[in-house]
């Protein structure tokens, strides 16, 4: 927008600006140029060192124009240089710096100095490795051994010779961590004769491997303990690894099957021993028997009833007795009265007759009491008789019960199919299978990898790569060596020898299975094994066929390892002979079959109830000193674990045990019978005692009644005697008086009766 200026007074006009003089460009003298352009050259030198290294025509022309002839040298050759008074702008200076640097870069084609330095460096590494290879190998072996065995590892001499293609190690000894002054094992020498060419092709092919002077438990000159710090480090590492492995370990189908079989075997074993013998427990039998007895109940009832009756009549005999004693005392004088002496004194006769009258009155009263009591007791005596009958019936019944229970006790009929001892072997074998199964899986996995060579799954990276064709590899010789191949191996020692052929990771290339024979004698135990490993794809033979036998093996499996289950015996055999064949199949589990002979066998079981059965059981076990055991075990993914034990030990055991039980049971029966009858007696004692008390009362009353009757009869006789005396011999002496007395006496007697 244009502004209106007419309305306003004109402003003071500014003086017009004078145009600035063009800024002088900064220039640089020759001394600021790169060194290359400050030098003086002959024409030849200029062409070679400067112009010959310029390939842009414009640059070449520019540079050639800068150089002017500035003089001549001693040989009268023209010299060229950039004139010293020349000035350059910044842009020119930069261009010349760039051109100079480009000229400098155009040197010879090969960078010899870095190349030589690199070659020298590689050579230095090779020389260092050559000089230190033995030290490195020694360090690697000792470190590995010490980590594994947690004890010192020593090597007297070690040499790896690449030129001779040999590896030699002498005086290799590994200490026993439990006994540091002894070696776990020692080897006099190990020699590998390997194929260097194959080694450089990343293959280990040993034509021969020899291991000599293998021995165990040899003496050491110094302690084999490793430092506590290193030991702690090793153990920490192992614990870490163990935890890692435990986390990774999943329960395989085999372990699940094994656990169920193991639990079932253990359960059967428990039931078969403790459950079976429980029925022969006298205490159990007595308890069962006591529950069926009638006497306790009947006796209690009878006792209560009898006691009530006894209490009812308890005071009567004493009451009657007291009265009887009184009457007896007063009757004594009358019964002993001399009637003849009274004949002269008729007044005394009268007194005597009065006394007799009085006594008879008392006797009549007493007799009446006794009769009443007897009558009463007689009415209850039938009831007491019924009670006694009840007790008797209960006793008879209980005797029958006791006999029935005791008869159970008289015979033992053990099922011959029971696995009293062999069941223990079931459990042991299941435990051993569980223990060694992880090694089996590791071994089979390794062999299967060797057989099928599954390619490791590479991590898929999302990168855009150009895929190339594989091409074809041309071989000019039969290049059939596998990555690892020991053609022949042999070893020996004072108590050890082995030989093996074709140990390799790829038997398809060697065309032969690996075969190894080992024989060893450690701690007076002879071991022999033959192992054939066949991972050839075309082979139908088992993956592993192992035949193992040993003699004089000490086999100890104490009962505590089986959980101290009552009756489940622990095994200790100092001379065991084993002969087993193990077959591991590619996709079908494994089978284990064989026989074992146990001599100097000792079986011992934790105690159980009843004690007498345990004593017989333990005694019978201890009598078994030898046994034969056949094992057929197998595992397939479809059928799980199958275990069959063939042994004569159960038959041996059962027949011996049954015979001993029969002998013992007779005495036990008598004892139990006596104890039961004693119990019945104990129960009935109370009731019968009360009945007896009642009967005693009855008898006493009867006795007292009889006494009363006796006294009465005697008094009656005495009375008759007095009457006779009164009516016969005194008739004459006192007719009137007697007559009157007679009358009086008669009237008195009349009153009396």
């Amino acid at each position: 927008m244009k502004k209106d200026t007419t309305a306003k007074p004109p402003k003071k006009q500014k003086a017009p600006k004078t145009p600035k003089a063009p800024k002088e460009l900064k220039t640089y003298p020759v001394k600021k140029l790169p060194k290359l352009f400050k030098k003086t050259y002959t024409q030849k030198q200029l062409d070679k060192k400067v112009l010959g290294k310029l390939f842009i025509p414009e640059d070449k022309k520019y540079i050639s124009e800068l150089f002017k002839e500035t003089g001549k040298n001693k040989k009268d050759v023209a010299l060229f240089s950039i004139p010293q008074d020349s000035l350059f702008e910044k842009k020119e200076l930069n261009r010349l710096v760039t051109i100079a640097s480009e000229i400098k870069e155009n040197k010879g084609r090969v960078k010899f100095i870095p190349l030589i330095a690199t070659v020298a460096f590689i050579a230095a590494i090779v020389i260092t490795l050559t000089l230190t290879k033995n030290i490195i190998a020694r360090k690697a072996i000792t470190s590995t051994c010490e980590s594994i065995f947690e004890a010192k590892c020593d090597i007297d001499y070690l040499n790896v010779s690449f030129f001779k293609s040999t590896f030699t190690m002498k005086g290799w000894q590994v200490a026993n961590k439990k006994n540091p002054m002894k070696n776990l094992f020692s080897v006099e020498s190990i020699t590998f004769d390997f194929d260097m060419l194959q080694l450089l092709k990343a293959r280990f092919v040993a034509n021969e491997l020899s291991v000599l002077g293998v021995d165990t438990n040899t003496d050491r000159k110094y302690s084999g303990d490793i430092s506590a710090q290193r030991l702690a480090k090793i153990q920490k590492k192992k614990e870490k690894q163990a935890k890692k492995n435990a986390k990774q370990e999943e329960k395989s189908a085999f372990m699940v099957s094994l656990d169920s079989k193991k639990d079932a075997a253990m359960g059967t074993l428990k039931d078969s021993i403790t459950g079976l013998f429980d029925q022969y427990n006298p205490e159990t039998i007595m308890k069962e028997c006591q529950e069926q007895l009638q006497t306790p109940k009947v006796s209690k009832q009878v006792q209560d009833e009898a006691k009530a009756l006894t209490d009812k009549y308890k005071a009567k005999p004493d009451e009657i007795k007291t009265k009887l004693e009184t009457v007896r005392a007063s009757s004594e004088a009358i019964i002993n009265l001399d009637v003849n002496s009274l004949q002269s004194n008729p007044t005394k006769i009268k007194d005597a007759i009065d006394s007799i009258s009085k006594l008879k009155t008392n006797l009549d009263s007493l007799k009446k009491d006794a009769d009443t009591a007897l009558k009463d007791i007689q009415s209850d005596i039938n009831g007491v008789g019924g009670l006694a009958k009840q007790v008797q019936n209960a006793i008879e019944n209980d005797k029958g019960v006791v006999q029935t229970q005791i008869n159970k006790f008289t015979s033992i009929n053990l099922d011959t199919g029971k696995n009293f001892v062999s069941g223990t072997f079931d459990s042991i074998i299941y435990q051993l299978l569980g223990k060694y199964y992880p090694y089996y899986t590791k071994g089979v996995t390794m062999l299967m990898e060797a057989k099928n060579k599954p390619k490791k799954e590479k991590k898929v990276k999302k990168t855009y790569t150009v895929s190339r064709a594989e091409g074809r590899t041309v071989y000019y010789k039969n290049d059939s060596a596998p990555k690892f191949w020991i053609k022949k191996a042999a070893g020996s020692g004072p108590s050890f020898a082995f030989d093996a052929t074709d140990i390799t990771n790829n038997m398809n290339l060697t065309g032969k299975p690996a075969v190894a024979n080992v024989s060893a004698s450690f701690l007076n135990i002879d071991h022999k094994a033959k192992v054939i490993v066949d991972t050839r794809e075309a082979s139908n033979d088992p993956l592993v066929l192992a035949n193992y036998n040993c003699d004089k093996l000490t086999l100890a499996y104490p009962a505590e390892k089986l959980g101290d289950i009552p009756g489940v015996p622990g095994i200790d055999s100092s001379k065991t002979q084993l002969d087993f064949v193990l077959k591991i199949f590619e996709n079908d589990g494994f089978s284990l079959s064989g026989t074992s002979f146990f001599t100097e066998l000792a079986l011992s079981a934790p105690s159980f109830e009843p004690e007498f059965v345990y004593n017989i059981y333990e005694g019978t076990l201890q009598k078994i000193k030898a046994m034969k055991l056949g094992v057929q075990a197998g595992y397939t993914e479809s059928a799980g674990i199958d275990l069959k034990l063939i042994t004569d030990i159960d038959k041996q055991f059962i027949s011996a045990f049954t015979a001993e039980m029969k002998n013992q049971l007779g005495a036990i029966k008598e004892k139990v019978e006596a104890e039961l009858f004693a119990k019945i007696n104990e129960y009935t004692n109370g009731a019968l005692g009360e009945i007896n008390n009642f009967n005693d009362i009855s008898e006493k009353l009867n006795g007292y009644k009889k006494n009363i009757d006796d006294i009465y009869a005697k008094v009656e006789a005495k009375k008759k005697e007095l009457e006779d005396a009164t009516t016969g011999k005194a008739k004459k002496a006192a007719d009137d008086a007697v007559n009157s007395a007679k009358d009086a006496a008669k009237s008195k007697l009349k009153n009396l009766f």
Binding site: I56, E102, R472, V474
Partner: protein, 167 residues
């Protein structure tokens, strides 16, 4: 890769020896055509690092030729198979294979041998073609291109200016 491209263009328009650029293209061709799964490729790479060539051009053409290589694999296979089965050379190859470490080069693979032979055969023609191209480029084509309207226009673009500053 951008740096390699910049360095290549810089080499085209600088006083870098044409041989350095031509060798870079040819060595890039050898490594680009050869498969990388063998020791020979790495040995050659290490050796080439000690040759004074234009590294940008070398890297760029190694990449470009490796893109082209799969198309030529059947040709390499044919050449390699023919060469490795030449009766006169069979004892030599057999002996060579027995030499320690030589097996790691996988020279007996048809693609490795075929691509190497093809690259060696093409080395001299490619070398001279590149040199010839450079000669004409630097003398005639570069000034003409530099003055062309398109290049003048492009050279003013901020991105191109930035790339130019990187060079």
């Amino acid at each position: 890769m951008l740096k390699a491209i910049i360095k290549f263009f810089k080499a085209l328009n600088s006083n870098i020896h044409p041989g350095a650029v031509a060798h870079a293209v040819c060595l890039g061709m050898i490594l680009g055509f050869m498969p990388k799964t063998n020791a020979l490729w790495y040995i050659l790479t290490v050796f080439f690092l000690f040759v004074r060539i234009n590294k940008g051009t070398f890297i760029l053409f190694t990449f470009l030729f490796s893109l082209l290589a799969p198309v030529l694999d059947p040709l390499f296979d044919t050449i390699g198979w023919w060469f490795l089965n030449l009766e006169k050379l069979t004892p030599f190859f057999s002996w060579l294979l027995d030499i320690p470490f030589v097996g790691f080069t996988r020279f007996n693979n048809t693609i490795v041998m075929g691509s190497l032979l093809f690259s060696l055969a093409a080395y001299i023609p490619v070398y001279w073609l590149v040199r010839l191209f450079l000669k004409y480029w630097r003398a005639f084509l570069a000034p003409a291109v530099r003055k062309s309207k398109l290049v003048v226009y492009l050279s003013k673009l901020p991105l191109i200016v930035k790339i130019g500053e990187m060079a």
